[in-house]
Symmetry: C2
């Protein structure tokens, strides 16, 4: 299949492009390097050095013999989006190309507006390109488990059968997300579901959990293929950040009581979920939703797991929670859709955590400690 990976230079977009290429698909990536730009803005960088996209693509051709086409441009530029779709003629568009950090979206008005503009309008341009050029194209869109929030009932996969006053309907699962970033993904989901109704679009919305890990079967074939590893309080996600803190001898920073429970998955499962979604497209007119996660852990459990695994002393600090979130709540998520397609999850084991220790150790001179402490507070409109 011909697969266009939007955001193909990012943390997960790049390993996904490699995994799909390795599986025999024809791949092109699109990126505007916004993620690298956020590093410049925030004074942060990936813990593991990453190469420029052209070096990455050349290295992949060297080790695999397979070509990846790259297009550099912005999804806000509709002419660019249309021209790429016309030229590459994808069967599938995998859409990772959104601003993905909740704290970044909560810095202030400008960042909330930027995140809305970039994510929602970029996604609309992609939807219209599909509708106008080739409605057969399957859109595989990255959402987030954070769209659901933490309801007091089971979380279903996107749709829920609701019985009310003696009648019933299959309805979109009600969303109550916890940041402006997460809200943009909710907006995208609503827009895409509508596109499926009016244009017969075929779409898969992947509500992804917190991803951990940094290596896949493809990225380890050459150091130039490495993907990024973020540890800062804005873009670093919880498990990766705790592992880095442990190796650095810093306390693990749990927000609040740490009872916040989240769905998680290994980066190797992310790329495999993407392959399964791509190779098993949604039907025309179908808005298909998968909860892309394999296990649930509370933040406190994750901290304790890292502390137990690390071969040295580890301190756990409980900081005042900068976010608005429930710290004790029910959390039971259905996530059978991808397993039904054949996903064999890598469960969070000592092996994964231990495998990250040497990677962090090797690069710990690159860490800026100041970046690990959370400075963006949800209650403040201007941080």
């Amino acid at each position: 299949m011909r697969v266009l990976v939007l955001g193909g230079d990012g943390y997960l977009g790049w390993p996904t492009a490699l995994h799909l290429s390795d599986s025999g698909h024809e791949i092109a990536v699109v990126d505007n390097f916004a993620r690298r730009g956020y590093d410049t803005e925030l004074g942060s960088q990936s813990l593991v050095p990453i190469e420029d996209l052209d070096v990455r693509v050349a290295a992949w051709q060297e080790v695999s013999g397979r070509e990846i086409t790259s297009y550099v441009g912005d999804l806000l530029d509709a002419e660019f989006v249309y021209s790429v779709v016309r030229e590459f003629r994808p069967d599938t568009i995998v859409h990772f190309a959104e601003q993905r950090a909740a704290p970044y979206s909560m810095i202030d008005r400008e960042h909330a507006v930027y995140t809305h503009h970039n994510n929602v309008i970029g996604n609309l341009n992609v939807m219209y390109a599909i509708a106008e050029i080739d409605p057969e194209i399957h859109l595989v869109k990255l959402g987030t488990m954070g769209e659901y929030g933490t309801p007091n009932i089971d979380i279903e996969e996107g749709w829920i059968e609701i019985e009310h006053n003696g009648r019933s309907d299959r309805m979109l699962y009600p969303k109550k997300p916890g940041s402006f970033y997460h809200l943009t993904k909710v907006h995208d989901s609503h827009n895409i579901e509508f596109g499926c109704r009016i244009w017969g679009m075929r779409a898969t919305d992947l509500n992804q959990g917190v991803v951990y890990g940094q290596t896949t079967d493809q990225t380890t074939r050459d150091p130039r293929l490495a993907t990024r590893l973020d540890y800062d309080s804005v873009f670093g996600t919880v498990l990766n950040r705790f592992i880095i803190q442990a190796v650095l001898g810093q306390p693990l920073t749990v927000y609040g009581k740490g009872g916040q429970t989240r769905g998680m998955l290994d980066i190797r499962d992310t790329v495999e979920c993407l392959r399964l979604a791509v190779e098993n497209p949604a039907d025309r007119g179908e808005f298909r939703v998968f909860n892309q996660m394999t296990e649930s852990y509370s933040v406190k459990q994750v901290a304790e797991l890292v502390a137990e695994t690390f071969p040295g002393p580890v301190q756990i600090d409980y900081l005042e929670n900068p976010r608005w979130e429930l710290e004790e709540h029910y959390y039971n998520v259905k996530h059978t859709g991808l397993v039904d397609l054949g996903l064999k999850p890598h469960l969070l084991s000592d092996t994964l955590i231990e495998s990250l220790f040497p990677i962090v150790e090797e690069n710990k001179h690159r860490v800026d400690n100041d970046l690990m402490f959370p400075k963006v507070k949800w209650a403040s409109a201007k941080n």
Copy 2:
């Protein structure tokens, strides 16, 4: 109270400003005249001639002795929004200032993107102005009954108690809107609910039905105070459009079978609902939702009602439906919140319909027949 009416030059914003002023409140209106600009773009105009905002404001001062302050500017200009809020220091912000036509949002990509940008980002700027300048300000936001779509269960007021697998939660009512315009209102609702959680905003979301009528107790006091009356297929809403078609001797154009049922209300009830919401603010942190409608009618029933009332022959044409919507469906809406605050509805009676006949008769030379036929098709991404 000091009330800032955003979109105060529009079809409902202007009569609302007058009604609130007449009720003793201090009023300022904000507008960028976008609605007048759409007329220029589409080659349409209000059936009833309307005056410029400065003439309207002067006329109101003449007949009532009361002053209305006006600010001309765009909600996309955050500096402008902040400066108006700082200068006028409102207790309440009534927010009508969004692109409000479903067909306009469905013309093509540019119009869908414009509607998202204008509505969602404009609303974010208002939310941030409140959060940064004065979180005590009550936001009264115009939503639409179209956010809900036509579910097979009762439509509650914004929130629904869901029982699922033996557990329950009070959740946001699931939305399934029927156009990109309606989707932007869904996005706004989600964003505002989040603002109530993180900043303790106080907000009332008014999910308004289809408004009919053109006169209120205030607008009739001077012809210069008239509000607009739209008959074109883009901005004209169903009942007003049918009345105009009847007077012109044209067939009433029902889309599809006409079984589409919608909540409706008289323009005099709209302005009264706004007064009730303003004078009874939501609590800090409360996201309060009212379904602002008084009766439900199918499009076919509305056509038949107009045909029966008009003192001459009326033909009803059933056109191919340009929209994506169910033409036969369950529709039962709870709308007790505003009645509990004291609303005494004007139900759709012969009186209202008949009162519009002479208004249309007097202005029928201004009609461009071509504009009444629907040209924007939902299934087409480029109209």
